[in-house]
């Protein structure tokens, strides 16, 4: 049970309700240790009251999502920024 997590692609479906792009392709910088990498590379704990995505380097929480019947709660405090690839303007 010590490593009962999935990779960040587990966030794709739940976050597609919120964002118009695929968040798993964005790069995120961990507010804890500064590690930068794709959201798809986070460790996502899904057997919980919400989704908890942790840094693969320091295990700090980078992102949380809770879906209630009427709202989605998105906590990005563990992420310094998201770099979202876009088509050239």
């Amino acid at each position: 049970m010590i490593d009962d997590y999935e990779d960040g692609n587990a966030l794709a479906g739940p976050l597609s309700e919120i964002f118009t792009f695929d968040v798993t392709t964005a790069d995120t910088r961990c507010a804890g240790c500064g590690r930068t990498g794709p959201v798809a590379g986070l460790r996502v704990y899904t057997h919980a009251p919400g989704l908890v995505a942790r840094c693969p380097g320091c295990e700090e929480v980078v992102l949380r999502v809770v879906r209630t019947p009427t709202a989605a709660w998105l906590d990005l405090r563990g992420s310094v920024a998201l770099r979202i690839p876009l088509a050239p303007a």
């Binding site: 009962d4 704990y45 057997h47 919980a48 009251p49 295990e59 949380r64 709660w73």
Partner: protein, 199 residues
């Protein structure tokens, strides 16, 4: 399973059992976790109560076990909708741990090894309602279920029963914990179905 009589299980089944609204009965013990399972050696384990004035009370593992133990049998209700009835625990009542703690605080913030937190009114930890539990079903509490010790406060949704408990901070003001800052209810009474903020 349809051809097996429920009577063969020899345990309480769903029929006639009153559950909180929206809950279903389970016989197993699902493991929910928001992160990696901490592995705390008992010799390294410590439990701290910090009052609103900063006074600290500490117990080592040995000191915890030397306190009078209780063996509550309680029903537990997870906010993810499973309920488990008649669970058997062994632990120390918070009444015992807090007996000599001088406080006028109204709120408690529970801290765990691994960083988890949860909040509740201090009065919900008292009067035989809460324990620091170290055994489940006659066995030492397994790490995936919060061992070596977890908070057990069964009258609230089970996310309040923090696994891998490390300490309790007593406070004059309420401060939301890990799930309470992400949409879950501040109090979490299963009988009033207080799952999310606004319920």
């Amino acid at each position: 399973m349809g051809i097996v009589s429920p009577g063969f299980h020899g345990r309480r089944r769903g029929a006639g059992v009153k559950l909180p609204p929206g809950q279903y009965l389970t016989e197993d013990f699902p493991v929910l976790s928001a992160g990696p399972t901490p592995r705390i050696r008992p010799e390294d384990w410590e439990f701290t109560v910090t009052t609103e004035t900063g006074q600290e009370h500490r117990w080592s593992w040995r000191e915890l076990l030397d306190l009078p133990g209780e063996t509550p049998t309680v029903d537990i209700h997870c906010v993810t909708k499973w309920s488990k009835l008649g669970t058997s625990w062994e632990g120390v009542s918070l009444d015992t741990l807090l007996a000599d703690v001088d406080t006028a605080a109204d709120y408690a913030l529970v801290h765990s090894y691994g960083g988890y937190t949860t909040n509740l009114p201090l009065e919900d930890l008292l009067d035989g309602q809460a324990w620091i539990a170290y055994r489940f079903d006659g066995e030492d509490l397994a790490p995936e279920h919060g061992g070596p010790a977890r908070l057990l406060v069964p009258h609230l949704y089970f996310w309040k029963s923090a696994k891998w408990v490390r300490g309790i901070r007593l406070m004059d003001e309420d401060e939301p914990g890990f799930w309470e800052t992400a949409g879950y209810h501040d109090y979490g009474d299963p009988w009033r179905e207080q799952r999310y903020q606004g319920d």
